[in-house]
């Protein structure tokens, strides 16, 4: 079926090429025909020409000869005529009385024979007796002696004498003709013949149209010629080859060959000659070659014309015949091209009644059969195409569905809806449902094409695996259930659904996960029309997709939950880790501090002791020196110096003590805690701390008095904490509060100021709030910033380490994951707010690993 692609194109290009080959065939045959005819005609023509040339030539030769002979005869005749006329004058015998008669005869002769210019009559003795002339005067009885002249003697001897041609006045040709009488006594008549009059004879000799006959004497001088001026000009014809040849040939052998030569006028002529025997002249008959061969040329022209005409005819005939042959062939070729191009409907029409027609019929036959088989194939192709289109549609739909699914993977409802819709549409189903597992039972969760009544009907009815419903059967058997007609199926008993839905054909496909149905995809049709295998396959695909989708969602959810849990634990872990680190730090710090304190304690002791000893020594020295003999200046110096020494050493002792107390404080603060954390009643802890602090302060300072307020939340409950650490913190804060209050009292100095310290607890659910409030001096803002910094204190030197708040902060925040805040108004109050989480989860490990 590849021809379908571009049949039109094919025929166009095809048409271009065979046009040439078609006309090539045409040209071939036409040309061949013409060539054959041409060759035949040409051969014939040439042969004819050749033959006719030969013939013509022979005829010409013959004619020329005959003409020459005839001309010679005519010339001879002319002379003979004159001769015979002259002969009349020789009849009278000479005697005295005959002179007048003779004269009369002579005059008559002159009149008769215009050619004779002069006639002389000579007696037997050679004496001229009478001369009659046209031009000269007549002479009678002149007595001129001619007996010795050749004209007389020759005439007497031979009876006739033809004299040589001579030219009068170098122009006029004359000849002497002497004739003797039959009787000797008659004497001789001598005539001067004006040969110009031969011109009449010669010019009348017709040699073709333009041919000439002319006469030359034995010396080659032109005697007679149609153009008399040539004669009068004394033309010497010896310059002509033919004349030479003729004159040189042996007398008597008349050349019978017709030569081609040039005549006196320069034309190429065919020349023949014949002798005018007794005179010794030669007559030449010359015919221009053109004219001679004119008939031949004319014949050749005729042949050529005929050839041409025949060629034309042959060409026409050839064309005609070739066309008759080529046109059917071209029709065949065009038809074959059409068939090749795919157009099988047309039939070749060739009606020549010969093999070509048979061939055309064969072609048509073939085209017909091809058409049939094409039609068949076409049908098959159509069918297949339809099927493939369907498949493609389904595949596309599937792909689309999958796309949708992939896009909205976690929106299960949408996915299932889409699946059902697509499945129903593609399988040409009227209705459908998807049944999903919910917990332990299956419910029809998604429906399509069913009336609302049916949807309500089935919404809450679980599907039981069983044979009574299509879906149930699918669940039960775990394979595709195809019921062509539910009414015809004896196992199908769910009549209500069927009535509500109005379906007849049913297809239920279970959605399987690892071989276990997790749902069913059901499609139904209102009329009895079984689903095709392809459709069943498609639905199965969709069902698989649905199963996958459901599974995906489920997995996703569980993953989500797990992830959330993990994130939470991770966070807890991190916080705990931080606190642990902090505790470790504190522990190590405490360790360090303890270590240092311990270490320093020793040297400090030495310093203190030795300082004390040194003081005593100085006293002794003073005493010793008091007894010595010193002058007053020296004694005063000694007294100064010892006083200075004393003072210095006192300072040393003082500061040593201070250092000692610092070390003690440090040790105090770095004391390792209790180690364990446990739930402790917070109110109890606070109360305890309060009492401890109050009694401690009273013990330390006389006259210390402060009113304590307690407001404990009874629901504060227990808090899981490090009790000793928290106690320390509370002690610290309380102590600070005491200190501030006392200072304010000192500043107030007798006003109505009552130092007060309040402690409060509050239950905040999973955390507890502790508040310590004093109405002391308050904390200025710049101090508030720095108050939790280690070693920062506002107490005078020797009174505080600056570590208390810092450590408290760390304990609360880092060890207990709580918070500590301070609110203060300088000169009014300060309140510390501590929030501790209740549970143990957020506690760091105790730093009890020493």
């Amino acid at each position: 079926m590849t021809d379908r692609v571009a049949p039109g194109q094919a025929t166009v290009s095809d048409a271009a090429v065979p046009q040439k080959s078609g006309s090539r065939l045409f040209m071939k045959y036409a040309g061949l025909f013409v060539a054959v005819v041409c060759v035949a005609l040409m051969t014939n023509g040439l042969f004819e020409i050749w033959v006719s040339y030969r013939e013509h030539r022979d005829t010409l030769i013959q004619i020329q000869h005959e003409q020459a002979e005839a001309a010679a005869a005519k010339i001879g005749q002319f002379i003979k005529e004159i001769e015979s006329q002259v002969g009349w004058t020789t009849q009278l015998l000479w005697s005295a009385g005959t002179i007048e008669q003779r004269r009369f005869d002579a005059l008559r002769l002159l009149r008769q024979v215009p050619a004779i210019t002069e006639l002389a009559q000579v007696d037997s003795g050679g004496k001229e007796q009478l001369r009659v002339s046209r031009l000269a005067m007549d002479v009678v009885g002149g007595g001129l002696d001619l007996s010795k002249t050749s004209k007389f003697t020759e005439a007497v001897k031979n009876k006739v004498f033809y004299g040589p041609v001579y030219f009068r006045r170098a122009s006029e040709p004359y000849m002497t003709l002497a004739l003797a009488g039959t009787r000797r006594a008659a004497g001789v008549s001598i005539a001067e013949v004006n040969l110009k009059l031969i011109w009449d004879v010669v010019s009348k000799i017709k040699v073709g149209q333009h041919g000439d006959a002319y006469v030359v004497d034995r010396r080659g001088r032109l005697i007679a010629h149609p153009d008399i001026s040539l004669v009068l000009r004394n033309t010497d014809m010896m310059q002509l080859a033919q004349v030479q040849a003729a004159l040189h040939s042996k007398a008597g052998v008349a050349g019978h060959d017709v030569d081609t030569a040039t005549d006196i006028q320069g034309r190429r002529v065919l020349t023949a000659f014949a002798p005018v025997a007794p005179l010794g002249w030669t007559v030449f008959v010359e015919l221009p070659v053109n004219e001679a061969y004119q008939p031949l040329i004319a014949s050749m022209q005729r042949t050529a014309m005929v050839l041409l005409a025949a060629l034309c005819l042959a060409a026409l005939a050839g064309i005609f015949l070739a066309r008759r042959m080529v046109v059917p062939i071209q029709a065949l070729r065009a038809g074959a091209a059409r068939i090749g191009g795919g157009d099988l409907s047309q039939r070749i029409s060739v009606k020549t009644g010969d093999e070509l027609e048979a061939l055309a019929d064969q072609f048509n036959d073939m085209a017909g059969r091809l058409q049939e088989s094409y039609a068949d194939l076409e049908k098959k192709v159509d069918l297949r195409t339809q099927e493939l289109t369907e498949s493609l549609q389904q595949q596309t739909a599937t792909a689309d569905v999958l796309k949708v699914i992939s896009r909205s993977t976690f929106d299960l409802k949408t996915v299932l809806n889409t699946l059902l819709h697509s499945a129903a549409r593609l399988c040409d189903a009227d209705q459908g449902t998807i049944t999903q597992r919910k917990g332990d039972t299956y419910y029809r969760s998604v429906s399509y094409g069913f009336p609302a009544a049916f949807a309500d009907f089935v919404k809450d009815r679980p599907v039981e695996p069983g044979r009574n419903t299509g879906t149930g059967r699918a669940l039960l058997e775990g394979k595709v259930i195809h019921i062509p007609d539910v009414q015809a199926d004896p196992d199908y008993t769910w009549k209500e659904a069927q009535q509500l839905g109005g379906f007849r054909t049913m297809l239920s496909v279970p959605m399987l996960r690892e071989g276990v149905p997790v749902g069913v995809l059901t499609l139904t049709r209102k009329e009895v029309r079984p689903f095709t295998d392809k459709q069943i396959e498609l639905v199965s695909t969709f069902a698989d997709q649905a199963a996958i989708a459901i599974e995906n969602v489920r997995l996703f959810d569980s993953v989500e939950a797990r992830t959330r849990e993990l994130v939470k634990s991770l966070e807890d872990l991190r916080a705990t880790q931080d606190r642990l680190v902090q505790t470790e730090k504190l522990a190590s710090l405490g360790q360090l501090t303890a270590g240092i304190a311990h270490e320093i304690k020793n040297p400090l002791n030495f310093v203190n002791n030795f300082s004390a000893v040194s003081v005593e020594l100085i006293n002794e020295l003073r005493d010793a020196l008091a007894g010595a003999n010193l002058d007053s200046k020296q004694q005063a110096e000694v007294a100064d110096i010892t006083a200075m020494l004393h003072g210095n050493l006192d300072k040393v002792v003082q500061h040593g003590k201070r250092a000692d107390s610092i070390v003690k404080n440090m040790l105090l603060h770095s004391r390792q805690g209790s180690g364990e954390h446990r739930p402790v009643d917070i109110n109890f802890l606070v109360e305890e701390s309060l009492n401890l602090a109050y009694h401690g302060a009273r013990a330390e300072r006389q006259g210390f008095n402060i009113s304590l307020e307690r407001s404990f939340d009874p629901t504060a409950g227990e808090v899981d904490l490090f009790p000793q650490e928290i106690t320390r913190v509370l002690l610290n804060l309380i102590a600070n509060g005491f200190y501030a209050a006392i200072r304010r009292k000192a500043e107030a100095n007798g006003s109505d100021y009552e130092p007060k310290l309040a402690a409060a607890t509050k239950n905040l659910g999973d955390s507890v709030e502790i508040r310590i409030r004093d109405n002391g001096t308050g904390i200025p803002p710049e101090v508030k910033e720095k108050m939790f910094n280690p070693f920062f204190t506002t107490k005078p030197a020797g009174e505080g380490t600056g570590l208390g708040l810092s450590i408290s902060h760390d304990v609360i925040v880092k060890q207990h994951a709580g918070s500590i805040e301070v609110v203060s108004q300088p000169g009014e109050f300060t309140e510390f707010k501590i929030i501790l989480p209740r549970s143990a989860a957020s506690l760091g490990k105790s730093g009890a690993q020493t």
Binding site: F104, R111, S133, R169, S171, E172, N234, L316
Partner: protein, 329 residues
């Protein structure tokens, strides 16, 4: 398609053929000039010129189509002849036909390049018109109208027809060398016939009359009229005089005998003109006059006017009659 081309080719060729042929015919128009020593009303010359033109026409030259004729009737006046000769020469025609020595001479003076054909001239060699009869050379050729020997013949004829004649007057044109020579020839043979000759000049009518009258004072006279244009001019006068004075006269040409002259012996002048036409034709076709030989007459005709003979009371001998080519009765 090639059929059509072929037919076009054939048709085209056929169509152009006659065109090509016709093209040839459009040759240039030739001009010839005629210088005639006679008046335009001279009947004899008219006949001669007519014969000449007719012969030309026979040879394919049609006046108006390919030929133009310029005829000058120059009379016998030498000055007129000279003038016409100059004019004709100035026109430079292809050929000039000049009749008689009286015209050929002045014509040759006027031009040496324009071909001149003379239908009648007595002695062209002697007159210096040509180099020789066979090859004239120059630009003039033509036909002689007599031989000097004829002078004797004429005398002989007079003696034959009128044996009583013992004196002859020779009418001649003394202006031309031929005229003089002719007289000389006749004079040379006269004694042999026993005739005494004397010349008469024919320069003008008056001279002729006087001459003849003077001649006839003595008796037994005859006339020999040598050929010259002047003689032709005064033909009738001469014949009248001859008749009046009962003089037997011999002329050269038939026209005299036809007009009443007694006897004439000479060539056919009309034929001469025809032959001249042939020469003109040849010259027009390209031949050079130098190559065309001057031809002598071939035939001489003897014409006898019996009426005049009877009027003169002469008996024509039988021999003469037998000899005559034409007898006018």
């Amino acid at each position: 398609m090639k059929r059509r081309e072929f037919i076009t080719l054939i048709g085209g060729t056929a169509a152009t053929w006659p065109l090509a042929a016709r093209a040839q015919e459009r040759e240039r128009v030739r001009r010839i000039g005629l210088l005639i020593p006679a008046r335009a009303d001279d009947a004899v010359f008219q006949t001669r010129v007519g014969a000449f033109l007719q012969k030309l026409q026979q040879m394919g030259w049609t006046i108006g189509r390919n030929l133009r004729i310029d005829t000058r009737w120059a009379t016998t006046n030498a000055a007129e002849i000279r003038r016409h000769a100059a004019e004709l020469a100035a026109l430079a025609p292809d050929v000039i036909l000049a009749s008689g020595a009286s015209t050929v001479g002045p014509m040759l003076h006027a031009t040496r390049t324009v071909p001149i054909v003379f239908p009648i001239v007595g002695d062209p060699v002697g007159a210096g018109f040509i180099d020789s009869l066979a090859r004239p050379g120059g630009n003039a050729t033509g036909f002689m109208n007599f031989e000097y020997g004829m002078g004797g013949k004429w005398l002989e004829l007079i003696k034959q027809i009128a044996p009583a004649v013992t004196r002859a007057a020779v009418l001649r044109n003394p202006a031309t060398p031929t005229g003089i020579a002719q007289f000389g020839v006749i004079q040379a043979v006269a004694p042999s016939l026993g005739v005494v000759v004397s010349p008469v000049n024919v320069r003008d009518a008056g001279e002729i009359e006087r001459g003849v009258r003077a001649f006839v004072r003595a008796g037994k006279g005859g006339l020999i009229v040598t050929p010259s244009a002047l003689a032709g001019r005064h033909r009738d006068l001469i014949i009248t005089l001859a008749a009046r004075h009962k003089l037997p006269a011999v002329y050269i040409e038939r026209s005299y005998a036809a007009a009443g002259g007694l006897i004439s012996y000479g060539p056919d002048f009309i034929d001469q003109f025809r032959r001249a036409a042939g020469y003109v034709d040849r010259i027009l076709k390209g031949e050079k006059p130098a190559d065309l030989p001057v031809q002598a007459p071939t035939k001489y005709e003897l014409v006898i006017n019996l009426k005049t003979a009877n009027a003169l009371g002469l008996t024509v001998p039988a021999a003469l009659l037998a000899r005559a080519d034409e007898v006018i009765e």
